[in-house]
């Protein structure tokens, strides 16, 4: 009869001897662990300055606690509602408009006969993904400027140019459409690969039974994509609050801030440009909390719709 205590002891001992025997493996892990602690975990600890009257001179420990003061200040600030709604709208519209496009592209690509043609189409579809956000935004500015090529067409029809990049009314459309232009092709890869794995016998059998192409797309291809769609949708919805702020920041002009100011760009401005570290960190934390809530919510909904299959 072995007592519980002694098994724990032997387990502990064997663990130690395992580590001693395979210490090389732990040395291999060390660099990544150290870097993760420094650049990921220390900032997590540093995030407590959101609850402090932080001064760099006194440091994180030395600064006095202020509780939820920064959060209250943000929630009661006059632009809170606009910034929150801008963030939610930009991502929600982006998700609704952008999510189906790669699926549609994949379904269409799957109908293309001729491997060579398909490869060439894919080569073109993926290309914009490799252009940087700076360049894409730069292209938007030159194309959509009052004297740019798009306005040359617009002027021909309406007689006067539109200020796409400075009018708040156009910010969202320009942001979302250019995003689809840049990433839809690349995002379709995963769906294309999933469709390539569909058993061809399913299609053959359906054709024998007289199913039309459209019917086969609806009853064979779409169901095959469903699990991938569910996971990608949850991931996209979970990232809703952390959408591409790098591009939003680049696209921001003094005139379009009524619609282009989102939480992430605001965090940058308040924190690094205005130097209000603690307040900025509190806003960022607020953003992350909403993000986690959204992720959990969407996962629950999708799970219910998708026969219990979710991300977790």
């Amino acid at each position: 009869m072995v007592s519980p205590g002694s098994t724990a002891l032997t387990r502990h001992k064997s663990w130690l001897s395992y580590v001693r025997r395979h210490y090389i493996l732990y040395l291999f892990l060390a660099p990544a662990v150290v870097l993760t602690v420094i650049f990921k975990y220390v900032p997590m600890y540093g995030a407590i300055i959101a609850f402090k009257d932080f001064s760099p001179r006194r440091g994180i420990m030395g600064s006095a606690w202020v509780g939820f003061e920064h959060f209250q200040r943000f929630l009661s600030s006059p632009n809170f509602y606009d910034i929150l709604m801008n963030t939610l709208k930009l991502s929600a519209y982006g998700l609704i408009l952008g999510f189906p496009v790669p699926i549609l592209l994949a379904l269409m690509l799957n109908l293309i006969r001729g491997a060579k043609l398909k490869k060439n189409i894919q080569l073109i579809l993926y290309a914009p993904n490799f252009i940087s956000v700076v360049v894409v935004t730069g292209m938007l500015f030159v194309f959509l400027s009052p004297t740019g090529v798009v306005n040359a067409v617009v002027t021909a029809f309406t007689g006067k140019p539109v200020s796409f990049m400075s009018d708040p009314a156009y910010f969202r459309s320009v942001y979302i459409l250019s995003g689809i232009w840049q990433t839809a092709g690349w995002s379709s890869i995963i769906y294309v690969a999933t469709l390539a794995n569909v058993d061809p016998q399913l299609h053959d059998a359906a054709t024998m039974d007289g199913a039309s192409l459209l019917k086969r797309v609806r009853h064979i291809d779409l169901p095959a994509l469903k699990p991938v769609m569910a996971v990608l949708f949850i991931l996209a919805a979970g990232g809703i609050m952390s959408i591409g702020y790098e591009k939003a920041y680049l696209m921001q002009t003094a005139l379009n801030t009524p619609t282009s100011e989102i939480i992430a760009t605001y965090v940058y401005k308040v924190g690094l440009q205005a130097g209000d570290y603690a307040y900025s960190t509190a806003i960022g934390l607020f953003n992350s909390v909403i993000n986690v809530i959204l992720l959990v919510f969407v996962n629950t909904v999708v799970k219910r719709l998708n026969e219990g299959e979710g991300l977790y």
């Binding site: 395992y18 395979h22 090389i24 493996l25 732990y26 291999f28 892990l29 660099p31 990544a32 662990v33 870097l35 993760t36 650049f39 220390v42 900032p43 997590m44 600890y45 540093g46 300055i49 592209l105 269409m108 690509l109 109908l111 293309i112 189409i121 080569l123 579809l125 993926y126 290309a127 914009p128 490799f130 940087s132 956000v133 700076v134 360049v135 935004t137 730069g138 292209m139 030159v142 740019g148 232009w181 890869i189 995963i190 690969a193 053959d204 054709t207 039309s212 192409l213 459209l214 790098e246 920041y249 680049l250 965090v267 940058y268 690094l272 570290y277 900025s280 960022g284 992350s288 986690v292």
Partner: protein, 293 residues
């Protein structure tokens, strides 16, 4: 089996080809326009359309761009940062992933959780900035390379790959008396060239295209990577001093600065666009391995 299409199917196929065609046009038009405008000045392109004369072509935009110090320096900085970042990414990911791919590694679960947590929680912009600042890394290359060099996603990618390697090889080598280090360097690494290549390629392209970290952490313009120089030309409309030195007429100046913008877009995207068809299958492979998770 020869596929028989019914009338209805043909309609669907025609619609498919038309839609895909339109999408491809929408992608290609801006790209082709940029290239043409970089040689032609956009005004000429708009007003003359296809009635373009050989005399309208000029390489002035490129001459100005290529004789600009900031641009050249930015280009070489970008090459340097991207290469260093790719190296660091491969180093940290491969070494961390190998132990985690071994079955029965003591303490594997907690270490995995330790890494995974960072995928969902983060300190945020300012706390990370403060760490970099406290380490004295502000305005150094390290700030651009180190904070992002460990990515959980990459570790999982490499781990998945290692787990797919035939274990019999390791066991046989172990029986033959190879040490842990020997197995890793003589057997695992040589078999892992594809994943190392994929990781390096992704990291290189990612760093080449990024500007935000450099914008936050770097102050000295001599350290700026290409994307930051481009940002000042394309978005902040600061045509670099020296590009338009002569006192040109206002209209000429505007025309030239537009050309410079188009040629800088072409120059900066050229390396990736040239590389891209050769590496396409590796990019795809990266996406596929990443999705298995």
């Amino acid at each position: 089996m020869e596929i028989q299409y019914s009338g209805k199917d043909r309609v669907l196929l025609v619609i498919t080809y038309i839609l895909l065609g339109l999408f491809i046009l929408a992608i290609l038009f801006p790209l082709i326009y940029v290239v043409l405008a970089s040689f032609l000045t956009p005004n000429v392109l708009i007003t003359k359309g296809l009635a373009i004369m050989p005399s309208d072509w000029t390489v002035t935009g490129y001459v100005k761009i290529l004789s600009n110090d900031a641009m050249i320096r930015g280009f070489f900085n970008a090459v340097l940062y991207s290469a260093a970042f790719a190296l660091a990414t491969v180093f940290f990911s491969v070494f961390a992933a190998y132990p985690l791919s071994i079955e029965g590694l003591a303490g594997k679960r907690p270490v995995m959780i330790f890494f995974l947590i960072t995928m969902f929680f983060g300190g945020g912009l300012i706390p990370t900035y403060l760490v970099v600042k406290d380490l004295g890394m502000l305005n150094t290359v390290w700030a651009v390379i180190l904070p992002g060099a460990v990515s959980v996603f990459n570790i999982i990618l490499a781990k998945t790959y290692f787990q797919g390697l035939p274990k019999e090889l390791f066991q046989a080598a172990g029986i033959d008396g190879a040490s842990e280090l020997g197995i890793f360097f003589k057997i695992v690494l040589p078999l892992s060239k594809p994943i190392i290549f994929v990781l390096a390629l992704y990291a290189f392209v990612g760093q080449w295209n990024s500007y935000f970290d450099a914008m936050i952490y770097l102050e000295d313009f001599r350290l700026f990577p290409l994307q930051l120089v481009l940002r000042s030309i394309l978005i902040q409309n600061q045509v670099q001093p020296g590009m338009i030195a002569d006192a040109l007429a206002q209209a000429e100046l505007k025309k030239l600065s537009e050309m410079i913008k188009y040629s800088s877009i072409v120059i900066s995207s050229l390396p990736l666009i040239i590389m891209y068809p050769f590496f396409q299958k590796y990019f795809e492979k990266g996406v596929m391995v990443g999705s298995i998770k």
